[in-house]
């Protein structure tokens, strides 16, 4: 027992605890994802038994429709900021007409989906894990289980599907408002007309840019809803646990969203050109 008392021993012990808990979370998170995949594929055969339309619509409203104002405002400001930044830089080259293209491509490929995901991770991811976490500590999840109602089907699936549908919609909204933000700056600083700005944008954009962004936003939806649900379902230890789970859900979602964004950007820039 003496070796446990020196610092080397305790460092080893700590390390093995960290490795253990990481492995545990990775496997149980994978298991939750596997259950969702399984249920989705059963749902393709017998949708009536798996998908509850009312629950999905309810979640689409809560997650999607109610996120519209905040996504719109942040995207508009971000579009304006991007336009100001680019006019400032491009002025040195006398190339301000490129603002439209830059904002358009930048938003559809990258910033639209990303800012949407960040806002949604904070708003929706947090509320998913707070809600499921509260249900976990008040034995509601156990109650569902004992009634023979699968909590993954009843709670996780509607949230997953709702966000999967709403996230790309919000990303498109964000694209539009970002571009409008860019136009506002161009109109004020460069005296561009709306028609001209629109033409410049459409000329610069390819359909692929839009699709790239939408594929990203779908992957962000998966990340945010699954991490949110997972952190909610593993909560233990009362209200404090719910708070910790919510924080973890937001932090982890943001890390994985930004990592996935980087991955997809690399994929669409270098691999699938």
């Amino acid at each position: 027992m003496t070796w446990q008392n020196n610092s080397f021993g305790s460092a080893i012990k700590k390390l093995s605890e960290v490795v253990n808990s990481t492995l545990y979370h990775v496997t149980s998170f994978a298991l939750l994802n596997w259950q969702v995949i399984k249920l989705m594929s059963i749902g393709l055969v017998k949708p009536g038994k798996i998908f509850k339309r009312r629950h999905i619509f309810e979640q689409m409203f809560l997650m999607g429709v109610q996120s519209i104002p905040i996504v719109a405002v942040t995207s508009l400001f971000l579009g304006m900021t991007l336009a100001m930044l680019t006019t400032y830089t491009l002025a040195d080259f006398g190339a301000e007409v490129w603002v439209a293209g830059l904002v358009g491509v930048g938003f559809t490929r990258e910033l639209g989906p990303l800012i949407t995901a960040i806002v949604v991770a904070g708003r929706v991811g947090a509320s998913i894990s707070a809600e499921l976490g509260t249900m976990t500590v008040s034995e509601e999840i156990d109650a569902l289980d004992t009634m023979g109602i699968n909590p993954v089907r009843y709670l996780v699936l509607p949230r997953f599907i709702a966000l999967l549908i709403m996230m790309p919609c919000l990303a498109i909204l964000s694209d539009y408002l970002g571009i409008i933000g860019g136009y506002l700056i161009s109109a004020m600083k460069l005296d561009m007309s709306f028609a001209y700005y629109k033409d410049l944008t459409i000329e610069a954009l390819k359909l692929k840019d839009v699709f790239t962004g939408l594929i990203k936003s779908v992957s962000f939806a998966v990340i945010i809803s699954m991490i949110g649900c997972y952190q909610g379902l593993i909560v233990s230890g009362g209200a404090e646990g719910v708070g910790q789970g919510t924080t973890k859900s937001v932090v982890n979602s943001l890390i994985f969203v930004i990592a996935a964004d980087s991955f997809f950007t690399a994929l669409f820039t270098y691999v699938i050109v």
């Binding site: 034995e139 289980d145 023979g148």
Partner: protein, 266 residues
């Protein structure tokens, strides 16, 4: 045949044996009361019987089928015949009272909406909450939540109902009402009931048999009459509510001092 048969059930949490070799059989149609001090493992035992937790070893047979080795799909079928009243009611807070009671029916049956609403009304009437369908759980008192939980537990007309502390947090009259309800269900519908409770009065009132749990073991089991006259020192202390006995209030003075001055070394 026994409704439930528990054989050599062992469960350890963080090196603590919470359930230590439990053997227990419960007959069809009987009301089994499980008693014991706080933290002795009653809720844990219940969680194992409804397979919310998996044991380290041992078997739990329900109608001869071992639920500890069942897959999820078969468990769902078994669970449809269960009802469970949780210690806190465990109503879904996002649904109304009526929707909570209707939930198992909506999920598991193809019954018409109208028929479900009639069943819900009947079950709520049984627990004395007629007309509360449209309230949210947050608008109810603790005791009312528990009664709604009971209505939900019996919504599917189960063969087997588990009650975790049905009387806790209820006034004596409501407790008596709930006790009467448990007895009626058992006698009239032939439901098998397993009741975890601290309340001596209701235990002796409703039980066909009582099992006393102590430190994860069943130390004594028998009819209320037998338990009342039990020779087992702990059972004796428990039913008489004596502060001192096998479960000491405070150990000897030296022991007390050494516990106060000892430091956890690990």
């Amino acid at each position: 045949m026994n409704m439930i048969e528990i054989k050599n059930l062992i469960k350890t949490y963080d090196n603590r044996r919470v359930l230590d070799d439990i053997n227990l059989s419960i007959k069809q149609g009987e009301t089994m009361v499980i008693m014991g001090g706080s933290g002795c493992g009653k809720s844990t035992l219940l969680r194992h019987i409804i397979s919310l937790a998996r044991p380290d070893s041992g078997q739990i047979l329900i109608k001869g089928q071992d639920i500890t080795v069942m897959n999820e799909a078969r468990l769902v079928e078994v669970r449809k015949r269960f009802g469970m009243l949780f210690q806190s009611g465990a109503l879904l807070n996002s649904l109304t009272v009526g929707e909570n009671v209707a939930l198992p029916l909506v999920e598991h049956t193809k019954l018409d909406r109208k028929i479900i609403s009639i069943i819900v009304k009947m079950k709520l009437e049984l627990v004395g909450l007629t007309g509360f369908e449209n309230l949210m759980p947050s608008q109810l008192s603790g005791g009312m939540k528990k009664r709604v939980g009971l209505a939900r537990a019996i919504a599917m007309d189960p063969e087997l109902v588990f009650y975790d502390e049905p009387g806790a947090g209820l006034d004596p009259i409501t407790t008596a009402v709930v006790d009467k309800l448990i007895m009626d269900l058992t006698k009239k519908l032939g439901i098998t009931s397993i009741v975890v409770t601290h309340e001596m009065k209701s235990a002796f009132r409703i039980a066909d048999r009582i099992a006393v749990l102590y430190k994860g073991k069943v130390v004594d089991i028998g009819t209320p009459e037998y338990i009342r006259n039990s020779k087992h020192p702990y059972v004796n202390q428990f039913i008489n509510g004596a502060p001192d006995g096998p479960e000491p209030l405070r150990r000897s003075k030296d022991d007390y001092l050494s516990r106060l001055t000892s430091f956890d070394e690990d």
